[in-house]
Amino acid sequence: MNFAVLQFPASNCDQDAVHALRDVLGHSARYLWHKETSLGDADAVIAPGGFSYGDYLRCGAIARFSPVMQAVQQFAADGGLVLGICNGFQVLCEAGLLSGALIRNRSLQFRCEHVYLKTLTTDSPFTNRIPEGKLLKIPIAHGEGCYFADDETLNKLKANNQILWQYCNANGEVTEQANPNGSLWNIAGICNERRNVAGLMPHPERACEAILGSADGRLIFESLIHALKSKTMPKAA
Protein backbone atom coordinates (compact mmCIF):
# COMPACT_ATOMS: atom_id res chain seq x y z
CA MET A 1 0.00 0.00 0.00
CA ASN A 2 1.06 3.57 -0.60
CA PHE A 3 0.70 5.87 2.37
CA ALA A 4 1.09 9.63 2.19
CA VAL A 5 2.24 11.20 5.47
CA LEU A 6 1.55 14.92 5.54
CA GLN A 7 4.28 17.32 6.63
CA PHE A 8 3.38 20.75 7.90
CA PRO A 9 5.93 23.19 9.29
CA ALA A 10 6.51 21.83 12.84
CA SER A 11 5.02 18.41 12.27
CA ASN A 12 7.24 16.18 14.41
CA CYS A 13 5.74 12.68 14.30
CA ASP A 14 5.91 12.37 10.52
CA GLN A 15 9.14 10.35 10.67
CA ASP A 16 7.73 8.02 13.34
CA ALA A 17 4.69 7.38 11.13
CA VAL A 18 6.82 6.67 8.05
CA HIS A 19 9.09 4.39 10.12
CA ALA A 20 6.12 2.39 11.45
CA LEU A 21 4.52 2.02 8.02
CA ARG A 22 7.65 1.43 5.98
CA ASP A 23 10.18 -0.27 8.25
CA VAL A 24 7.87 -2.11 10.65
CA LEU A 25 4.87 -2.93 8.48
CA GLY A 26 6.69 -3.12 5.15
CA HIS A 27 4.52 -0.77 3.14
CA SER A 28 5.37 2.18 1.00
CA ALA A 29 5.13 5.53 2.78
CA ARG A 30 6.27 8.95 1.69
CA TYR A 31 6.22 12.47 3.04
CA LEU A 32 3.93 15.00 1.47
CA TRP A 33 4.86 18.65 2.04
CA HIS A 34 2.00 21.00 2.95
CA LYS A 35 2.41 23.01 -0.24
CA GLU A 36 1.66 20.01 -2.46
CA THR A 37 -1.67 20.12 -4.22
CA SER A 38 -1.87 16.44 -5.19
CA LEU A 39 -1.73 13.25 -3.13
CA GLY A 40 -0.22 11.35 -6.04
CA ASP A 41 -1.05 7.65 -5.99
CA ALA A 42 -1.74 7.49 -2.24
CA ASP A 43 -4.06 4.74 -1.00
CA ALA A 44 -4.41 6.36 2.42
CA VAL A 45 -3.35 9.58 4.14
CA ILE A 46 -1.85 10.02 7.61
CA ALA A 47 -1.99 13.47 9.23
CA PRO A 48 0.75 13.12 11.85
CA GLY A 49 1.36 14.65 15.25
CA GLY A 50 3.31 17.79 16.00
CA PHE A 51 2.65 21.49 16.37
CA SER A 52 1.73 22.49 12.84
CA TYR A 53 2.38 26.19 12.21
CA GLY A 54 3.47 26.50 15.84
CA ASP A 55 -0.11 25.85 17.03
CA TYR A 56 -0.67 29.56 16.31
CA LEU A 57 -4.24 30.85 16.63
CA ARG A 58 -5.57 27.35 17.51
CA CYS A 59 -4.07 23.87 17.09
CA GLY A 60 -4.62 22.84 13.48
CA ALA A 61 -6.38 26.07 12.47
CA ILE A 62 -3.74 27.23 9.99
CA ALA A 63 -2.76 23.78 8.69
CA ARG A 64 -6.36 23.18 7.73
CA PHE A 65 -6.13 25.83 4.99
CA SER A 66 -2.83 24.58 3.53
CA PRO A 67 -2.85 23.47 -0.14
CA VAL A 68 -2.37 19.79 0.73
CA MET A 69 -5.46 19.84 2.93
CA GLN A 70 -7.62 20.86 -0.02
CA ALA A 71 -6.46 17.64 -1.74
CA VAL A 72 -7.15 15.69 1.47
CA GLN A 73 -10.68 17.16 1.61
CA GLN A 74 -11.31 15.94 -1.93
CA PHE A 75 -9.75 12.52 -1.19
CA ALA A 76 -11.99 12.13 1.88
CA ALA A 77 -15.04 13.25 -0.09
CA ASP A 78 -14.26 10.50 -2.62
CA GLY A 79 -14.18 7.93 0.19
CA GLY A 80 -10.38 7.71 0.69
CA LEU A 81 -9.04 6.65 4.11
CA VAL A 82 -7.58 9.42 6.27
CA LEU A 83 -6.16 8.96 9.78
CA GLY A 84 -5.25 11.94 11.96
CA ILE A 85 -2.96 11.36 14.94
CA CYS A 86 -2.70 13.93 17.75
CA ASN A 87 -2.12 17.24 15.92
CA GLY A 88 -3.45 15.47 12.83
CA PHE A 89 -6.70 14.82 14.74
CA GLN A 90 -6.85 18.52 15.63
CA VAL A 91 -6.31 19.45 11.96
CA LEU A 92 -9.11 17.11 10.80
CA CYS A 93 -11.51 18.58 13.37
CA GLU A 94 -10.61 22.13 12.34
CA ALA A 95 -11.13 21.10 8.71
CA GLY A 96 -14.63 19.90 9.52
CA LEU A 97 -13.75 16.35 8.41
CA LEU A 98 -14.43 15.22 11.98
CA SER A 99 -16.89 16.67 14.49
CA GLY A 100 -15.99 18.51 17.67
CA ALA A 101 -12.77 20.15 18.80
CA LEU A 102 -9.73 19.48 20.96
CA ILE A 103 -9.14 22.00 23.72
CA ARG A 104 -6.65 22.57 26.54
CA ASN A 105 -6.30 19.59 28.90
CA ARG A 106 -8.47 20.13 31.92
CA SER A 107 -5.44 19.75 34.22
CA LEU A 108 -3.55 22.36 32.14
CA GLN A 109 -0.68 19.84 32.13
CA PHE A 110 1.07 18.49 29.07
CA ARG A 111 0.49 14.74 29.50
CA CYS A 112 3.13 12.36 28.21
CA GLU A 113 2.53 8.75 29.26
CA HIS A 114 1.13 5.39 28.21
CA VAL A 115 -2.66 5.09 28.43
CA TYR A 116 -5.10 2.25 27.84
CA LEU A 117 -7.72 2.46 25.12
CA LYS A 118 -10.95 0.56 24.86
CA THR A 119 -12.11 -0.03 21.28
CA LEU A 120 -15.87 0.49 21.03
CA THR A 121 -16.45 -0.94 17.59
CA THR A 122 -14.51 -3.09 15.16
CA ASP A 123 -16.80 -1.89 12.40
CA SER A 124 -14.41 0.62 10.85
CA PRO A 125 -11.35 0.58 8.59
CA PHE A 126 -9.31 1.68 11.63
CA THR A 127 -10.40 -0.99 14.11
CA ASN A 128 -11.32 -4.11 12.14
CA ARG A 129 -8.21 -6.08 13.19
CA ILE A 130 -8.48 -5.28 16.90
CA PRO A 131 -9.53 -8.43 18.78
CA GLU A 132 -12.75 -8.19 20.80
CA GLY A 133 -12.02 -6.97 24.32
CA LYS A 134 -8.34 -6.22 23.60
CA LEU A 135 -7.13 -3.08 25.38
CA LEU A 136 -4.57 -1.02 23.50
CA LYS A 137 -1.61 0.36 25.44
CA ILE A 138 -0.52 3.42 23.51
CA PRO A 139 1.33 6.61 24.50
CA ILE A 140 -0.13 10.09 24.53
CA ALA A 141 1.84 13.35 24.39
CA HIS A 142 -0.31 16.46 24.26
CA GLY A 143 -1.39 19.61 26.03
CA GLU A 144 -4.59 20.16 24.06
CA GLY A 145 -6.33 16.84 23.72
CA CYS A 146 -9.54 17.38 25.66
CA TYR A 147 -12.28 16.33 23.26
CA PHE A 148 -15.27 18.68 23.24
CA ALA A 149 -18.51 18.61 21.28
CA ASP A 150 -22.03 19.77 22.08
CA ASP A 151 -24.61 17.26 23.36
CA GLU A 152 -26.27 16.90 20.00
CA THR A 153 -22.96 15.98 18.34
CA LEU A 154 -22.01 13.57 21.14
CA ASN A 155 -25.35 11.80 20.90
CA LYS A 156 -24.98 11.53 17.15
CA LEU A 157 -21.45 10.08 17.49
CA LYS A 158 -22.79 7.50 19.92
CA ALA A 159 -25.87 6.63 17.86
CA ASN A 160 -23.77 6.07 14.73
CA ASN A 161 -21.00 4.11 16.49
CA GLN A 162 -18.51 6.82 15.57
CA ILE A 163 -16.67 6.73 18.90
CA LEU A 164 -13.81 4.35 18.15
CA TRP A 165 -11.71 4.59 21.32
CA GLN A 166 -12.20 5.68 24.92
CA TYR A 167 -9.56 6.14 27.62
CA CYS A 168 -9.86 3.40 30.24
CA ASN A 169 -7.83 1.85 33.05
CA ALA A 170 -5.82 -1.39 32.87
CA ASN A 171 -9.00 -3.33 33.61
CA GLY A 172 -10.89 -1.77 30.74
CA GLU A 173 -13.07 0.42 32.96
CA VAL A 174 -13.89 3.83 31.54
CA THR A 175 -13.35 6.01 34.61
CA GLU A 176 -12.71 9.67 35.35
CA GLN A 177 -9.31 8.72 36.76
CA ALA A 178 -8.31 7.04 33.50
CA ASN A 179 -9.16 10.19 31.54
CA PRO A 180 -5.83 12.00 31.00
CA ASN A 181 -7.19 15.26 29.61
CA GLY A 182 -10.84 15.77 30.57
CA SER A 183 -12.25 14.59 27.23
CA LEU A 184 -16.04 14.33 27.25
CA TRP A 185 -17.12 10.71 27.60
CA ASN A 186 -13.39 9.77 27.83
CA ILE A 187 -13.25 10.06 24.03
CA ALA A 188 -9.78 9.32 22.63
CA GLY A 189 -10.72 8.88 18.98
CA ILE A 190 -13.66 9.11 16.59
CA CYS A 191 -14.52 8.61 12.95
CA ASN A 192 -16.84 10.46 10.60
CA GLU A 193 -20.31 9.23 9.70
CA ARG A 194 -19.06 7.66 6.47
CA ARG A 195 -16.33 5.88 8.50
CA ASN A 196 -13.46 6.73 6.14
CA VAL A 197 -11.89 9.51 8.25
CA ALA A 198 -10.71 8.97 11.82
CA GLY A 199 -8.65 10.80 14.40
CA LEU A 200 -7.19 9.98 17.80
CA MET A 201 -4.99 11.78 20.30
CA PRO A 202 -2.80 8.76 21.28
CA HIS A 203 0.16 7.83 19.08
CA PRO A 204 -0.17 4.33 17.56
CA GLU A 205 2.96 4.97 15.44
CA ARG A 206 5.00 5.13 18.65
CA ALA A 207 3.72 1.73 19.75
CA CYS A 208 4.46 -0.59 16.86
CA GLU A 209 7.47 -2.47 18.27
CA ALA A 210 7.93 -4.37 21.54
CA ILE A 211 11.17 -2.47 22.20
CA LEU A 212 9.09 0.70 22.55
CA GLY A 213 7.02 -0.80 25.37
CA SER A 214 4.01 -1.82 23.29
CA ALA A 215 3.23 -3.00 19.80
CA ASP A 216 -0.53 -2.47 20.16
CA GLY A 217 -0.49 0.48 17.76
CA ARG A 218 0.18 -1.94 14.93
CA LEU A 219 -3.40 -3.17 15.19
CA ILE A 220 -4.70 0.22 14.04
CA PHE A 221 -2.40 0.34 11.01
CA GLU A 222 -3.05 -3.34 10.26
CA SER A 223 -6.78 -2.55 10.30
CA LEU A 224 -6.21 0.20 7.76
CA ILE A 225 -4.13 -2.10 5.56
CA HIS A 226 -6.73 -4.85 5.84
CA ALA A 227 -9.47 -2.42 4.83
CA LEU A 228 -7.44 -1.25 1.84
CA LYS A 229 -6.74 -4.81 0.72
CA SER A 230 -10.25 -6.11 1.15
CA LYS A 231 -12.08 -3.34 -0.66
CA THR A 232 -11.41 -1.33 -3.70
CA MET A 233 -10.71 2.00 -2.10
CA PRO A 234 -10.53 5.04 -4.31
CA LYS A 235 -7.01 6.12 -5.15
CA ALA A 236 -5.99 9.72 -4.90
CA ALA A 237 -6.24 11.61 -8.15
Binding site: L57, R58, A61, F65, C93, E94, G100, A101, I103, R104, N105, R106, S107, L108, C146, F148, A149, D150, G182
Partner: protein
Protein backbone atom coordinates in the same frame (compact mmCIF):
# COMPACT_ATOMS: atom_id res chain seq x y z
CA UNK B 1 -9.52 51.79 9.93
CA UNK B 2 -8.98 49.10 12.51
CA UNK B 3 -10.89 45.94 13.40
CA UNK B 4 -10.90 44.69 16.96
CA UNK B 5 -11.86 41.08 17.53
CA UNK B 6 -12.42 39.49 20.90
CA UNK B 7 -12.62 35.69 20.99
CA UNK B 8 -13.84 33.95 24.13
CA UNK B 9 -14.57 30.33 25.02
CA UNK B 10 -18.25 29.42 24.80
CA UNK B 11 -20.01 29.21 28.15
CA UNK B 12 -20.55 25.44 27.79
CA UNK B 13 -16.83 24.83 27.25
CA UNK B 14 -14.70 24.14 30.32
CA UNK B 15 -12.03 26.83 30.54
CA UNK B 16 -9.22 25.48 32.73
CA UNK B 17 -7.07 28.53 32.00
CA UNK B 18 -9.78 30.85 33.28
CA UNK B 19 -10.20 28.68 36.36
CA UNK B 20 -6.44 28.72 37.07
CA UNK B 21 -6.33 32.52 36.76
CA UNK B 22 -9.37 32.82 39.02
CA UNK B 23 -7.72 30.59 41.64
CA UNK B 24 -4.53 32.65 41.48
CA UNK B 25 -6.47 35.91 41.89
CA UNK B 26 -8.26 34.47 44.91
CA UNK B 27 -4.96 33.33 46.44
CA UNK B 28 -3.68 36.89 45.98
CA UNK B 29 -6.61 38.17 47.98
CA UNK B 30 -8.80 39.54 45.17
CA UNK B 31 -12.24 38.52 46.37
CA UNK B 32 -15.66 38.74 44.72
CA UNK B 33 -14.67 37.02 41.48
CA UNK B 34 -17.38 34.79 40.05
CA UNK B 35 -15.55 33.50 36.99
CA UNK B 36 -12.64 34.30 34.68
CA UNK B 37 -12.70 33.54 30.96
CA UNK B 38 -9.43 33.67 29.05
CA UNK B 39 -9.74 34.44 25.36
CA UNK B 40 -7.87 36.15 22.54
CA UNK B 41 -7.75 39.70 21.24
CA UNK B 42 -6.85 40.49 17.65
CA UNK B 43 -6.30 43.90 16.08
CA UNK B 44 -6.43 44.02 12.34
CA UNK B 45 -5.32 47.13 10.50
CA UNK B 46 -7.32 47.76 7.37
CA UNK B 47 -6.55 50.00 4.44
CA UNK B 48 -9.99 50.13 2.84
CA UNK B 49 -12.55 52.81 3.56
CA UNK B 50 -15.84 50.99 3.36
CA UNK B 51 -16.76 49.89 6.89
CA UNK B 52 -19.67 47.70 5.88
CA UNK B 53 -17.67 45.71 3.32
CA UNK B 54 -14.87 45.29 5.86
CA UNK B 55 -17.32 44.13 8.51
CA UNK B 56 -18.90 41.60 6.19
CA UNK B 57 -15.58 40.14 5.08
CA UNK B 58 -14.11 40.00 8.58
CA UNK B 59 -17.28 38.47 9.96
CA UNK B 60 -16.83 35.68 7.44
CA UNK B 61 -13.13 35.33 8.36
CA UNK B 62 -14.05 35.17 12.07
CA UNK B 63 -16.52 32.42 11.42
CA UNK B 64 -14.32 30.45 9.04
CA UNK B 65 -10.87 30.88 10.52
CA UNK B 66 -10.23 33.31 13.35
CA UNK B 67 -12.61 31.59 15.77
CA UNK B 68 -13.83 28.01 15.98
CA UNK B 69 -17.63 28.14 16.34
CA UNK B 70 -17.60 24.73 18.07
CA UNK B 71 -15.81 26.13 21.12
CA UNK B 72 -15.61 29.92 20.78
CA UNK B 73 -17.70 33.09 20.44
CA UNK B 74 -16.41 36.31 18.94
CA UNK B 75 -17.17 40.02 18.96
CA UNK B 76 -16.12 42.16 16.04
CA UNK B 77 -15.80 45.94 16.19
CA UNK B 78 -14.61 48.27 13.48
CA UNK B 79 -13.36 51.73 14.30
Amino acid sequence: MKAKIIITPKKAVVDPQGKAVQNALEHMGYSGINAVHVGKYLEIELNGADRETARKRLDEACHKFLSNPVIEDYKLEIE
